[in-house]
Symmetry: C2
Subunit: 357 residues, 2 copies
């Protein structure tokens, strides 16, 4: 039976970069008989403009019935004045939660061709290949109670709850250990167990689950130190697993170490391997519509989709090799351009990858 | 009347580095008639070993009656197996809270002599001079309710509360705006207002307080982006103000950008300017007792004390210039040593600074 992919271009540069990723995926679909079908829907600001909500029921239904979701990006200044409940980001948070996409895989890989793009010294980052496993449907992002209340003395008080149950920690732990098993078998769990009770439980559960994976070396690190170590000596890490909020911060640091966030894909998976795939960069409203955005992060997100949801490692490898070939051909979009390279548009970059296939 | 300084050497390298800082302070005390008196007390693991608690009442009383506190560092593997309530870190958290030291100033300054110590490229960090203002007595560090409970289904659940009231945000805002006024008049408030209601309130109060400081340019940034920008282009920042937890992480990133955390002091102030002063680095148990620790962060913490609590800018300047002179003389402790420099011990470094005075 055909596998269905829900395609959500979203806002800003989203539609442009998703179009290039679909070029690649359509080609492989035919070339390798992957039997994939595509269906588009609106999310984020685009969905708000059409339906008054960033995640319309029709989009959610499509995603629930799909085998995988390909997302561009959401958000932009146009929707910033809106109340929180209907802001584009809410669409993203809701879909993560509704589809139970608790395991967010964020690789930070430095392409050798782009080592100069990093603000870090080449010897510190060359060969960098870290995977951050971020818990995505729990923690302070979703914890109750939350809100802003009026105190008796007349002043306002804001509050949010950071909460994790054993089972939530256990499932992300298994996901992280399995990821580490397929890599260099080193897992660093990041918490703030010296201050936060909830991450004391996190540390205990990680240690307990670790007994099922004797081949993986588990270490623990406080989040402040982890942030520091990512800047000091990032290559000490293989896989990092952490909470939703810490993962938001650490994965952005790790991404920035590579100097080219236009290159980095991500996967958000549920327990069955169904997933949503998206570039880690945002909707870049300032360059939207100009045809100059870098489509490689989205193209590499499609490779992750083929690998993780559709179990097609050969197809994924082909995409990754084609991206590599495009970089070797010295073709660059504006964000990764440097002297002596050929500056190309979004669609020219997509075509170069397609040709390399 | 004499001003009293409570001296808490703490654990690990704490006693060694505090001894050097006191050399400097005692000299200036005589030389400039500062009329300072000193009294020692135990904190952290050392206090636990003697009294069974990391913050004995006698230490707390001394600190409450003092005009300023000079702290070395706390903690070490010896005390890690202890229950949380009596771990060395608890002593630190309790003293911050008991003395109402809500405003934590953490400068990240790159000494020109040490630019090569950074893992970042020289052009990205040379001239770096950021001040992070971290809220220190509220937020998720102290929020109630907190703990680990048993759910009805038999599994454990950990929870912590991130909470700020308007008045807590307002006082740290004033502290940050005043700090910015004395510097380059740029303040960046870091939050996660797109996800956390409590930081929506944070953002609103910052904006409101900003009206009292029309000469300061206020911007807002999400924490994930701020972490990224610190790696990408740290010199865009002048003063950053943020919550306790975000400040813990961001100040460690900022510190690591300089590549020499053995150089960085900090101040934790209450509303009246009374403060606790300490190096931002830890107790470094691995090198404790070897006489090789870098005392400069603690010496520079004394300079901050003279500036912020005792209103002695001339004395503070003298210390900072003497440290600069020691670096110019190519004298280095092991942590900042590089080829061609003279490697010195903790006390030799202290003496070099003293000579320069
Ligand atoms: C847009 C925002 C809600 C989101 C998050 O905080 O998770 C983003 O920063 C991310 O990391 O995907
Ligand atoms: C030791 C620890 C409790 C402390 C903190 O988290 O505040 C430390 O990391 C710091 O930044 O001073």
């Amino acid at each position: 039976m055909a596998k269905k992919i829900a395609v959500l271009p979203g806002d800003g540069i989203g539609p442009e970069i998703v179009a290039e990723a679909l070029k690649i995926l359509s080609f492989l679909n035919t070339d390798m008989n992957l039997d994939l079908v595509f269906e588009n829907a609106l999310i984020g600001g685009a969905a708000y403009d059409a339906f008054g909500t960033p995640l319309p029921q029709i989009t959610l239904n499509l995603c629930k019935n799909a085998d995988a979701v390909l997302l561009g990006a959401v958000g932009g200044p146009k929707w910033e004045p809106l109340p929180h409940a209907v802001r584009p980001e809410r669409g993203l948070l809701s879909i993560r939660s509704e589809l139970n996409l608790f395991s967010n895989l964020r690789p930070a890989i430095l392409c050798p061709q782009l080592v100069d793009a990093s603000t870090l010294k080449p010897e510190v980052v060359s060969g960098l290949d870290i995977m951050i496993v971020r818990e995505l449907t729990g923690g302070i992002y979703f914890g109750q109670p939350r809100g802003i209340r009026l105190l008796e003395n007349g002043e306002q008080q804001g509050y949010n709850t950071l909460v994790y149950s054993e089972s939530e920690i256990r499932r992300i732990a298994h996901s992280a250990f399995k990821t580490a098993q397929k890599r260099h078998k080193k897992l660093c769990s990041v918490d703030k167990a010296n201050v936060l009770e909830v991450t004391e439980l996190w540390r205990n559960v990680m240690t307990e689950v670790g007994k099922d994976y004797p081949d993986v070396q588990l270490t623990h690190m406080y989040v402040d130190n982890a942030a520091m170590q990512l800047v000091r000596a990032p290559k000490q890490f293989d896989v990092i697993v952490t909470t939703n909020m810490f993962g938001d911060i650490l994965s952005d640091i790790a991404a920035m170490l590579t100097g080219s966030i236009g290159m980095l894909p991500s996967a958000s998976l549920d327990a069955s391997g169904k997933g949503m795939y998206e570039p880690i960069h945002g909707s870049a409203p300032d360059i939207a519509g100009k045809g100059i955005a870098n489509p490689l992060a989205t193209i590499l997100s499609v490779a992750m989709m083929l690998r993780y949801t559709f179990n097609q490692p050969a197809a994924a490898d082909r995409i990754e090799q084609a991206v590599n070939a495009a970089l070797d051909a010295q073709v660059r979009t504006a964000d990764i351009h440097s002297e002596g390279m050929v500056k190309v548009s979004t669609s020219e970059m997509g075509d170069t990858v397609l040709d390399a296939l």
